[in-house]
Symmetry: C2
Subunit: 303 residues, 2 copies
């Protein structure tokens, strides 16, 4: 079956329900997302935060906290909330960590805690999954939000993290296009040299379980016709699953252009820790929050 965000939701609904730890659930938008997820029967929730506040907001939006699908754990300070939510994932009481009404820095600090955090020794990276109206498959974009200007080794790890997640959604041998402005190696554009190195790291078995090709310009990666026009024949060109960009500058602009100009639906998680982390922000639509939850749930089985 062709994969879509809708088909991933069905995959999640057919699996055993997992537990999602929410770091500071005392927020209307967050609890509305919880309510929507419960209605779709996606998962269970472990809600951390001020119990009185959570209860008041839940009443206001008609979310029943007495259901067996929700557990509320009272914590007051942001630091304590972040610590407790991360610890629940650390002890495998929950399989997903979700940021609620907390700063990203606060939650990452707890994630990176050496003793009680979710470190694995890998780079943490942002993996976005897009459903674009005129494209025939889901597309991953990495890294649009976490690593500013990754080194070659960090790029290799960013690819590994995305490949890992792609396996989770059932793509056995994901095709990775390393995106640059041109398809030739050009000394004046260091990203083209890194792209060539990443391709050879794949050929030498240093990056496994995927097919990497680069440098590829954006059009060569996603259009077979554009690739043929340039005389590029590879297993990746025109059919890339993962678009790996050289910097946050490229990733962030592309991410937002897909949403605003191409009317794309998006899901995103942080990969590289012990469990998928959802860092969606207030600016994300309710729909995109649910998509990210689905993405985290479906990919968590390979974590």
């Amino acid at each position: 079956m062709k994969k879509s965000l809708a088909s991933l939701k069905i995959d999640v609904q057919q699996e055993t329900k997992q537990m999602v730890a929410v770091a500071n659930a005392a927020d209307k938008e967050v609890l509305l997302a919880v309510k929507a997820a419960l209605k779709e029967e996606l998962c269970f929730f472990l809600l951390f935060g001020d119990e009185a506040q959570i209860t008041a907001i839940a009443q206001h939006i008609h979310l029943d906290l007495s259901t067996s699908e929700i557990i509320v754990r009272h914590e007051r300070t942001d630091e304590a909330i972040a610590h407790a939510a991360v610890l629940a994932v650390h002890h495998n009481e929950a399989q997903i960590l979700m940021k609620g009404n907390l700063s990203t820095n606060q939650i990452l600090k707890a994630v990176l805690d050496k003793e009680h955090g979710l470190r694995t020794g890998k780079v943490l990276s942002h993996v976005a999954l897009f459903e674009i109206p005129n494209q025939d498959r889901l597309l991953f974009l990495t890294d649009a939000a976490m690593n500013i200007a990754p080194s070659l080794q960090e790029k290799a790890e960013i690819i590994n993290n995305a490949v890992h997640v792609a396996h989770g959604i059932g793509i056995k041998q994901p095709k990775v296009a390393v995106i640059t402005p041109v398809e030739v190696i050009n000394q004046a554009m260091p990203s083209t040299i890194d792209a060539a190195a990443l391709t050879q790291m794949n050929n030498r078995g240093q990056i496994k379980d995927c097919l990497i090709d680069g440098p590829l310009a954006f059009d060569n990666a996603i259009s077979l016709e554009a690739a043929r026009h340039k005389g590029i024949h590879s297993d990746v060109s025109g059919s890339a699953d993962i678009l790996m960009v050289p910097s946050i500058e490229v990733g962030n602009a592309l991410y937002k252009s897909f949403i605003y100009f191409a009317s794309a639906a998006v899901a995103s998680i942080i990969s590289g820790a012990k469990a998928p982390i959802i860092l969606t922000s207030r600016a994300d639509s309710a729909e995109n929050k649910i998509h990210s939850l689905i993405f985290a749930l479906v990919s968590s089985k390979t974590f």
Copy 2:
């Protein structure tokens, strides 16, 4: 009237016809574009190249070379063709330079010739003009193809070149968004520092006849809602005319995502020389070639 590529065409059709010098017209795709432009009554053509070849191809595609709207000038080598076409613009015999079946390097070499070229002392930069289906205005993107990693001073000149062109299409005070991954100044992202400097250069009158604001993330630049969400209130956010990106990596990927994912129509020229230069490539659709010609014709009056 709302500006669109169609309205720009009408603007061109209502003005006195200008002359376009084509450097190597001995090519079917190029002569098909010439034929389409003549049918739309956009301009006159001065065609440089091997006369016998041009005549043979013209016959094949039923293009009448005996019309008063076309002059053919016989030149044989690529170097001679580039030199002669550039010289025609240098002497104001033609107002636009268009690359035909020549390499970009070859034509730029002639353009940059100190004695017979089209230098003005300014940086040459690529300016793309997009019509995006779900957006209510035309959008400029610069620089997606020419300057790899411009310095602050080069960025200022790139903005000047785009502003100049925007004036040409009738936008008196174009709004320039300097695009970065975030809307705050962050020392780890030098593009945000340059963006702040460019904004202040505008405030100090070092860059004139436009309104600059940056750093702005892509969404802040084009969506008022996204800008408000971040607490950004400026005259540029949400209504930018010109998206100025920090590098060719960002520009090229965005350019192609607009075309492939957002089904955008595009026109592009090189600005900064004595006249607009059209560098479209074989990969460009016939429609985009005509759009670029219209864009060059309508903006040439401010050159």
